[in-house]
Subunit: 763 residues, 2 copies
Amino acid sequence: MARPAAPSLRERLRVVDAWDKAQARTLYAADWQMPGMLHAAVARSPYPSARIRQIDTSRARALPGVAAVLLAQDVPHNTLWTDVPGQTSEVGPLRARIQVLAHEVVRFQGEPVALVAAETREIALQAAELIEVQYDPQPGVFDPEAALAAGAHQVHEGGNLLARLAVRRGDPDRALAQADVVIESVNRCQFIDHAYLEPEAGVAWIESDGVLTIRVSTQVIEHYRDVAEVLGLPQNRVRVIGTYLGGGFGGKEDVTVEVFLGLLAWRTRRPVKMIWSRQESLLARPKRHPFILRYRTGAARDGRLVAQAVDLLADSGAYAYLSALVLMYATVTAAGPYRVPHVAVDARVAYTNNPPTSAMRGFGAMQMVLGYESQMDQLARRLAIDPVELRARNALAKGDELPIGQPLDTHVAVIEAARRAWEALGPRRAPSTPAHRIGRGLACNIQPYGRIVWLHDWASAWVGFEMDGSLVVRTGTPDVGGGQAASLCQIAAEVLGLDPGRISIHIADSALTPLAGTTTATRQLYMSGNAVLRACEGLRRQIVDVAAQMLETHAHTVALAAGDAVTQDGRRVSLPKILRECARLGVSRSHLAVYHAPAGDPVDLERGGGRVFPDFTFGAHAVEVEVDTETGAVTVLRHVACHDVGRAINPQSVEGQIQGGAVMGLGYGLMEEVVLDHGVNLSTLFATYLIPTSLDVPDVEPIIIESGEGKGPFGARGIGEPPIAPPAAAVANAVDDAVGVRITELPVTPERVARALGLLGEG
Amino acid sequence: MARPAAPSLRERLRVVDAWDKAQARTLYAADWQMPGMLHAAVARSPYPSARIRQIDTSRARALPGVAAVLLAQDVPHNTLWTDVPGQTSEVGPLRARIQVLAHEVVRFQGEPVALVAAETREIALQAAELIEVQYDPQPGVFDPEAALAAGAHQVHEGGNLLARLAVRRGDPDRALAQADVVIESVNRCQFIDHAYLEPEAGVAWIESDGVLTIRVSTQVIEHYRDVAEVLGLPQNRVRVIGTYLGGGFGGKEDVTVEVFLGLLAWRTRRPVKMIWSRQESLLARPKRHPFILRYRTGAARDGRLVAQAVDLLADSGAYAYLSALVLMYATVTAAGPYRVPHVAVDARVAYTNNPPTSAMRGFGAMQMVLGYESQMDQLARRLAIDPVELRARNALAKGDELPIGQPLDTHVAVIEAARRAWEALGPRRAPSTPAHRIGRGLACNIQPYGRIVWLHDWASAWVGFEMDGSLVVRTGTPDVGGGQAASLCQIAAEVLGLDPGRISIHIADSALTPLAGTTTATRQLYMSGNAVLRACEGLRRQIVDVAAQMLETHAHTVALAAGDAVTQDGRRVSLPKILRECARLGVSRSHLAVYHAPAGDPVDLERGGGRVFPDFTFGAHAVEVEVDTETGAVTVLRHVACHDVGRAINPQSVEGQIQGGAVMGLGYGLMEEVVLDHGVNLSTLFATYLIPTSLDVPDVEPIIIESGEGKGPFGARGIGEPPIAPPAAAVANAVDDAVGVRITELPVTPERVARALGLLGEG
C-alpha cells in the first residue's frame, strides 16, 4: 500500500553539492593529490585484431622518472571477471573474462597492453610511447551477422555466439498467420558512447595499515573486490572511495582505472594518479550495444495486437562485459508495454573485433523502443487509428503478465502517460518555411528498475543523531549527479521530522559506509531509499521510546516534527534533550539497517513463469518536429516527457532526471554515433562524436505522474534510466508523420532523411 | 567471571602499522597534502600576563601570499568549553572556558592571539611576525600557594581557586593523635611536557557536501563537536579523521590545531595545513600538573596504617582544561592501594599565569605515588620492616573499600606484584667504584581505567565479513601508537576463529567509524575492546545460525575455527560458502554493537559511598640504583615493572606499554622539567628539556600478572597509564636506600642529590 504523500518530500531541495560544483570547488577524482604521487598511463593496441609477437620495454624503463612498467606477466591474476558487480557471486553462467593487460592477442583497437607510472604525466605518456610492441595483424570480424556466419574469424575460443535467449508464449506463428494485419520492420541502432564530461580518473595509495585505497570516479564502489581478485589480495585489503561524478550513465559501472591504479600503487608502494584523455575515453571504453531489431507484429482490424515475433541481434564487441544481462533486459521488454497474447523473442549477442559494449543508461530495454514503437506507429498508420488510441487499446494493466510470465503488481500508467504527453503538445505549429514540414511522434516505454531478482539485491544504511539533533546518514550509494544523496536526505527528513538542512550524508566509501550496491539499474532510490527508510524508522523507534518516557505517554502517541518530539496534546521535548537522556539511559542514537529486495526464482523463459525484475517504470514521450525537406535536417520543436514515478521525492531532481534523459535520448536519436571502420574508431574527439548542445534541443517539458504504487520509499519508482528510452522512436515516428518516410537506422541524421526523401539518390 | 585464556590472544602480533612506520611510509598528520592547500601559523603572546591595547594586522595582511588573518573578533564563538570530551554533556560544574584567541587579555606566555593562512609556511610565519600587538604587561601569579594568598593577582574573575575536593572517612585527627608512629612529609612534583616526537599538526578542508573535514593527530576525534561549537555549525557538518600518532600521552587529548584549522578553512574555503614547531609545542601546550603533596601517615608499631591526612595543591596554570578531573583522580587515589581506616584528603587546584596544565598519562593519580610511597618507605625504615612486608600488611584486597567508599570488586594484586618485582631484582650488585652506593626502592600503585562512571561512557564498533571470509573491523578508536588497533583485531580473531592476518581495521573517523570515545583514561581496551567483542559475538551468531542450517545441526554445536564452521563431529563448511548462503537468505554479514559501561551514581565524597571508576589496575615497580656520592648522579641499574593486566591481549603490546611507561616514569623521576621563570618558559628546546634516551635507562623487565578479573574483554584490565606512575617514587626510595637522603622534589637530578648530600651547601 502506498503511503500518503508527505509534504517534505515535495520540497524542491537543492542538491547538497550544487553550490560547490557551481563554484568549481568540488574535488573530482582527477583533482585529488597525494604526497609523492606518481602519474600513470596506458599503452594501447593500435590494431583491432592482432597477435603480440614481442614487447620491448627497455627504452621506456630507461626514461628518467619512470617508476614502473607493467605487462600482462606482471599482473598476479590477469583476468577480470565481468560478472554482475558487487552484490552476489551467484550469477554463474553470466561470468565472462576480460584480460587486464593483453596477453599474446589483442581483440579491439585500444585494448590495454602495458601500464606505466612515472614522476609526471608527461613522462608517463612518453614512456608509454616508447614501449615497442611487435604485432602480427590478424583478420577480424566487425559485424554481428558476419560474426555468426560460418567460417568467421573467431574472436574467442568457443565461437562468436556469446549468449542466446528465447521466449515463447502461445503460438505466435499461427497467430501471425491469422492476423488481420501484419507489420514487419527491421531497425538498426548504433554504437554510442556515454560521452560524460569527466573522463575516467582516480588516485590510489596504500594506507599505513596496508589497505590499498582507490579514490575514483565510479558508479560501483564494490569493484574493490575485482581489484582484490586481480592483485591476489583479501577483499578487506582494498577500499574504493567514490567521488562525485561528472557523469556516469553506465560507463563507470564497469571497472575503468581501478585495477590499473591498484597494480601500479601496489608495485611502486607510492600513490598513483591515472586520468584518461578524451581520446582514450572515446577510443577504448565500452559503448552502447548496437542491435538489429527484426519485428513482425500481427493485429486485429480494431488495432488489438494478437502476436509478435522478434529477432534481436546485438554486437558485444570484443569482450562479454555485461552483454548477457543487456540481452536479458532486451528480451524481457521486447514486446514493450503492451498486451500481446502470442509472442516469440529470439535474442542473440555476438563477439566481434569492435570496441566492447556494456552498460549504458537504458541497458538493452532502451534499444527495444525503436523496434516496438516503430511497429505501433506503422500499425496506427495502416489502420488509421489515433496513435494514443492504439496504445490505449493494447496497453498493459496492473494484473497482466509480461510475455515471460511476470505479473505486473503495481499500477501501469501507459495510457495516462501517452494521453498527457500527446495532449501537452498543444496546438500544432505552422512550418517555418514552405520547405519545412511539421510532424508529431509518440513513443511509450517499459523499463525495469532494480536488479534481477535472483541476484538477491540488498542495500544498507546507517543513520545517527549528533548530540545537537543534527543527523548523519551513511550509505555506500555513489551519487552520479542524479541527486541520489539529496533524495536520501529527504527520505530521512520525512521519517524523522527534520528540516533537510539538518542532515548531512556520507556516501560511497566501500570500507566505511554500509554497502548499498551499484548506482546502476535505476535501483538506488528503490534500494538505498528503502535502506535509509528502514534505518530511520529504527532510529525513530529508539528516540520516540525515550521521548515517550520523558513525556510520560505512550510511544505511539508521539510524533517527531521540526526537531521536537510532540504529543497529541501538544507537549514537546527537544531532540537535544531526548538525546542527552538516551546517553544517560544507554540507548543508542544510531541505527544500521539492511534492506533485502524480495527474492525470486530464476525465470523460465521457455515455459514462462517466474519473475525477472522487481518492478517497472512506464512512460511516454511526445515530440513535434520540423523537417527541412531541402536538407533533411530535423529540429525538435516540442518534447513532452511523462512518466509515472510513483512518488516524486524531490520533484526538482525527478524533473532533472526526466529532462536529462530526454536530451540524451534525443542525442541518440538525432546525432550520436561511434563510427567504426573495420574496428577502427573514427570518433575519438568531440569534433567527430557529436552530442547535443543546449542549442540542439528544445526545452523538454516533464510531466510527473504519481501513482503512489512503486516499490521504493513512499511508493516511489526509479526514474534514472526510463526517460532516455522513448525519444529516438518518437523522433522517427514524427519524421514519418512529417514527410512520410520511415528512418529505420539511428541516428536520424539529415543525410539519412535526405536519402529517404530521395534528395541524395540511393545510398 | 573471567573466561579461560584463549591461545590466539597470546599471539605476539606485530601491530599492523609497524612495517610502514619502520619504512617511513606512514602518512602522519603533517605529511598530508591537498590541492590548493594553504599553510597556517599562530601568533602568540610573549607575555605571561598582559592586557592587549591594540592589534594592527595591516602589515601582515599586505604581505603577498597571505590569504587570511584572524583575530578574536573573527571567531564566531570565541569560547572553547573544556569539559570531558565527547561522551556526554552532563559534566556540569566541571565545564570551564578558554578563549580560542586572546581577547583583551593574555594569561600565559604563548597564548594564541592571531591566526594566519598563507600560500607557504614561510609566508605564514612571516605574517605572524608582522602582526603588531601592543601589550600592557600586568602583574602575574606563578605559584599556586601565592595564587591562593590574600591579595593575589586574579587570573580570572571569581578568584584563583579553581576547584576543591575533600574526603573524610572515620576520624583521622584522633587516629593520627593516637597512632604509634606518624610520618610526615612534603613532596613536590614538577611541570613536565608530553614531549612526543610528533608535534601537533593537521590539515582541514571542506568536502563538496559542505562538511568541514579535519585530518589531525589527536587522541579524541570527538573534538568535531568543539569545532562545530566554535564555528557555529551543526555537529554533523564537522568531521575529524585521526591519523596515526607519533605520541600522544594526553597531550593530544585537548584540542590542539583543530579549531584553528577549522576557522581558517571555513574562512578561506581552501584546504589549510598547520604544523606547530617544536618550540611552539613545548612553549604553549598544556603540561602535567605540578602538585605539592603534604602527607601525614599514622601507623601501629606492627606497620598497620591507622590514619592518613593528605593535603594536595596543584597548579592549573592559566586555564582550567581538565584540572578538576585531574584533582578527582588525585583525591580518589591519594591513599594509594592501601587499607587506611581513617582518612582526610583536602585537594585544591589553583589558577596561575603559568602555562595551562591538563591531561597527561597518569592524570593526577600518578603524582600521588610520590606522596604515598615516600610515606610507606619512610614508615618501613622507621619501623625496620621489610618494604614488601609493610605493603603486604596494608594492601587492599578484593572486597575492601577505597576511602571514598567505592568497593573493589575485582582482584587486587598489590602484594603479588610487590613480591615479584622485588624478587626479580635478584642479587644486589656491587658498586662500580668506592665512591658509588647501591640502593633499592619499591613503589606500588593504583590507577583507574575507564572513565568516571557518571559520565555514562560508551563505545561502538561495526564488524563485517567480506565475501571471501576476510573481516573488516570499524571503530572510532584512535591508535596512539599503543597497539590499540592490533588488540582489537586480536579480540575479533578470537571470537570469530580467524587468523588475525585475515582482519583489517579502520579507525578514528568521526563521521564514518562508530564512535568509540577518547584514547585516554586507559579506557580503549576496556571500552572499544568490549564493543568489538559484542559486535563480533553478534556477527558470530548470525553466521553460525546459517552454518548450522547448512550443516543440519544446532547452532550451539557449531564452532568457528580457522575460517570454517565446524561441527562437533568434524564436519565443516567454509566461510565463503556460508557467506554466499547468507546473501541468498538475506542474512546480514555485519553487526554494529554499542557497549555501555555500567552506570553509577555520583560519589558523595563527604559522606562516602558511590562509585567513581569502573575498576583499577594495580602494580609495583622495583629499581636498583647506583648513586655517585661525588656528583649526585643517579643511574638506574635494574628496573622491574609488574602489573596485573587481567588478561594479556597481545603480550608484546602489553610489554611495550609497561616498558614505555616505565621509561617515561624514569624521565619524570630523573630529568624532565619545564623550567619557568615568572611564567616564562625556559625549556622550549630538546636541548633544554631533557628526555631519557636509550642510554639513560636500563632494560626494563616487565612482569605480567593475569588475574583474569578485569572488566575488559576476556578479563583484561587497562595498562596504558599505570606503568608510568611508580618509577619516580621507586627511584626516590632507592636513593634514600643508597645514600640515606630523601629527595622530596622531582626530578631527582644530580644537583638535588648533591645538595642533599651536602656537596653544594644549602641551596
